[in-house]
């Protein structure tokens, strides 16, 4: 199976998630070996996912945790006194 670039792009997500069937995987890998453009598309997509999974990408507002637990304390206390 010989793939054109645009067909490889359709498989990038499946490739990154390791969901391609063996035949497709082999064809994609063969294409990637010789195609700098598709390799770069793959790399940049992968890099985005690495960055996305980095927990430092999103930050919490200052005091978030304190306010959350304060609210929770109030809710739990309300339950314990029978109120809601």
């Amino acid at each position: 199976m010989n793939l054109e670039c645009k067909h490889v792009w359709e498989q990038i997500s499946g490739y990154l998630d390791k969901q391609l069937d063996p035949e497709m995987l082999a064809a994609v890998e063969r294409h990637l070996e010789s195609c700098e453009i598709c390799s770069a598309v793959l790399d940049s997509t992968r890099n985005i996912l690495v960055l996305t999974a980095d927990e430092r990408t999103y930050e919490l507002p200052v005091g978030y945790s304190r306010r959350l637990h304060q609210r929770l304390t109030a809710v739990i206390a309300g339950d314990e006194t029978g109120g809601r």
């Binding site: 890099n47 978030y64 929770l72």
Partner: protein, 209 residues
């Protein structure tokens, strides 16, 4: 991992048996997960914080209904996603119908940004902080149905089945939308991720050392 789940199950049992204050402890590891899930959808800090609080309180009140078939974190993310969707819907009906229409409707014809210019941007020009900001912006620009799938799969790392269940769609649609979301992000962010081809993955390996 197993131990953490076992501890969690024990904690949940104790909370349900009346030691309610232990809910603080149960939720602590997931505070950020809840906030980030809501924030990625509603795109507003104050709204996200309110939504995160509501999520946690809702989880507390409905803890009985958590049966342990799902992971606690997955259960929590599902509540967070529903809370976020509710808030977004409210905000949308308040404003006008949004500009959130997908870019073209056929799901498969997406063209990524093709990097034909291999000149390297000096690393110092690409501060990581700036890149993270660009990523947050780009995620925020995804049409909602793609953003939801991306948040659950690639940010919160739910699996396909969990994502499908959380959003009430089928697994095939999860795959299709995730692929489009990733390709849209690739297109938006490629200019900032330029690396010399074909050093696969090399950019971040260098970056995160």
């Amino acid at each position: 991992m197993k131990t953490a789940t076992a501890n969690e199950a024990a904690l949940i049992a104790r909370i349900l048996a009346g030691e309610r204050e232990l809910f603080h402890e149960l939720i602590r590891p997931y505070e950020k997960l809840v906030y980030v899930t809501v924030f990625a959808i509603v795109k507003n800090e104050a709204e996200a914080e309110d939504g995160a609080q509501e999520t946690v309180i809702s989880a507390y009140r409905n803890l009985k209904s958590f049966r342990g078939e799902a992971k606690f974190s997955t259960w929590l993310v599902t509540i967070a996603m529903n809370e976020a969707r509710k808030r977004l819907r409210k905000a949308k009906s308040a404003a006008e119908d949004s500009l959130d229409e997908p870019i073209g409707n056929s799901e498969g014809d997406y063209t990524p940004a093709v990097l034909t210019d291999w000149r390297e941007i000096p690393l110092e020009a690409l501060q990581r902080k700036e890149l993270k900001e660009k990523l947050r912006e780009a995620v925020g620009m995804l049409p909602e149905k793609y953003r939801e799938v991306f948040v659950l799969r690639d940010m919160e790392e739910l699996n396909q089945e969990e994502t499908a269940a959380a959003l009430g769609i089928n697994v095939t649609l999860v795959k299709v939308r995730l692929h489009r979301a990733r390709m849209m992000l690739q297109k938006m962010l490629a200019p900032y991720l330029k690396s010399q081809a074909p050093a696969r993955g090399g950019f971040f390996r260098r970056w995160f050392q």
